[in-house]
Symmetry: C2
Subunit: 314 residues, 2 copies
């Protein structure tokens, strides 16, 4: 076990203002006698997942899982092969999928609705435990399309070190992701040392169906929670019952969660990951424009992958 | 610290079939080499609150908090004093409130709707952190109307010992209550040693409202989750991401949660608390009739307060 203030905790971070602000904040809220000491049970830290803890380009890892499922459905049922999104999934037509995102940023969500409709049908009627098994197999068998590494090794090493540094300082860490909660759970313990019960995310609606074997919980073909934007603080509160003192994100959808950290009566640290490293990861600000403006205006800590991380992947 | 198998853990339990089934189950899932050994991270135990962990008669403790708030509203606004449920709360007319329950059991929920409508308005617009402060004050200042003891001492000592016995055996305990989640949270650590993040319950809808002080989360005047019946397994899964192996309840609304424990591939223990002790607590089966039938039919463990508990309150 490494001591809480040991430099080895953030070994993959370069010295600089971001690393200094993390160390300074942790010292401020954990040092006995500090006027801003926060008791351990209130040291809650929340992390977005896609683009904050692991890679989300060229497409979110979860989307690969969904497309695999849609393609399998079209394989079974030829009638689906002429309908989007099964058509694109079956033909591996990443052009159509790319256009969905491009149109979304241009304000046209017509194809997003088509895609979401397919996603809801893809898992409707599936048992949550079977779904977790399928997600586990996908995450442990597959490889990232451009990085070539297993999905379970697409976590950012500096962020994994940060989670460990916070745990050593008696923080409790949570994932608060827009991604699907039950998709992430099978790998969060192994990748981040965060157990299933500390994963907050989106979910389709669920229904309990009794039987004489203990019953089962089944996905319905309707959404329940889309855990993004102003929904993030609400879901964090609902799950944790406390206001976090540290939040980390990388996009516009993380702004309310970052604002919520700390609050009127306590210190707060807000980290925004900037993807500016085309050599080792990716270089993009699409979907993060407003969060970068807010970080500038509010003095949030911007973490530049290029400048602040000595190593990106473990 | 008491050893996991020390008899002092269940000191307020009488020897008998209920106590034996608890000890036998815990040994079965925790003893190295047992064919039914369950790893510690999967030892999830869920407990209903009202009537299972603390007293719910002559009315749920939360209802006292709500009535206090409704009376305060009528005190401020005379126009409310002619309208139910403010009229009954303001006049301390427990007859009207008792009739609500009687009519409910007879299948007439017209007054339940009137009461719930008032409850939604009672807290609409309140900040979740202010609400928690108010609940904390109520729970620490008030006394149970017939037992005369502080609300924070209305927990059943044998159940508090059971929670400690399970924790010593590396179970993780959760409250899964039909009561309001944010109302319970201010006392669960002190009474049960269960922290806020392990409290699952009902909640009104919430909205995040940003400001330059970290924003706040506000109750809306609409319900979100009523955590009872088949909703309990769904909310347990959503929060925990695992199927519990132990569940304890005391009413018909707990049947699905009890059925869900264990499941097809693992052992499960289901405890049903029977209120049969008019001397030391209360004697009632209203609202528990079907759960008692199920316990009989499925071989669940019925815990008789009169027979199985040497002491009821600490």
């Amino acid at each position: 076990m490494i001591a809480p203030d040991d430099a080895r905790h953030l070994a993959s971070w370069n010295d600089g203002p971001a690393t200094a602000s993390i160390r300074e904040f942790v010292a401020r809220v954990t040092t006995d006698g500090s006027p801003e000491l926060v008791p351990p049970e209130e040291r809650v830290a929340v992390f977005d997942n896609d683009g904050t803890l692991w890679c989300e380009m060229p497409m979110p890892i979860e989307l690969g899982f969904i497309l695999q499922r849609l393609a399998a459905m079209a394989d079974q049922d030829p009638g689906l092969r002429d309908r989007q999104p099964w058509k694109a999934a079956y033909a591996k037509d990443y052009g159509w999928l790319g256009d969905v995102i491009t149109k979304h940023y241009a304000g046209d969500d017509s194809d997003v609705k088509v895609l979401l409709g397919g996603i809801l049908q893809a898992f409707a009627g599936m048992d949550v435990e079977d779904y977790q098994d399928a997600a586990h197999r996908f995450l442990h068998a597959g490889r990232h399309p451009t990085l070539g590494r297993p999905f379970a090794e697409c976590g950012y090493l500096p962020m994994i070190e940060l989670l460990g540094y916070l745990e050593a300082n008696r923080f409790t860490t949570y994932i608060a992701s827009g991604g699907d909660r039950d998709f992430m759970r099978p790998v969060t313990q192994a990748v981040y040392n965060i157990p299933a019960e500390r994963v907050i995310g989106s979910s389709n609606a669920l229904r309990y169906t009794p039987d004489d074997q203990g019953g089962s919980i089944i996905y319905l073909s309707e959404p329940d929670v889309f855990d993004d934007g102003p929904v993030k603080p609400v879901r964090i509160w609902s799950r944790v019952g406390r206001r976090p003192i540290l939040a980390a994100g990388n996009s516009n959808g993380d702004i309310p969660m970052l604002q919520f950290a700390g609050g009127p009566s306590r210190p707060g640290l807000r980290l925004l990951i900037l993807h500016d490293d085309p050599e080792r990861e990716f270089d993009y600000v699409a979907g993060a424009e407003r969060s970068l403006e807010q970080a500038q205006a509010q003095g949030w800590t911007v973490v530049s992958i290029r400048r602040d991380w000595a190593t990106v992947f473990g």
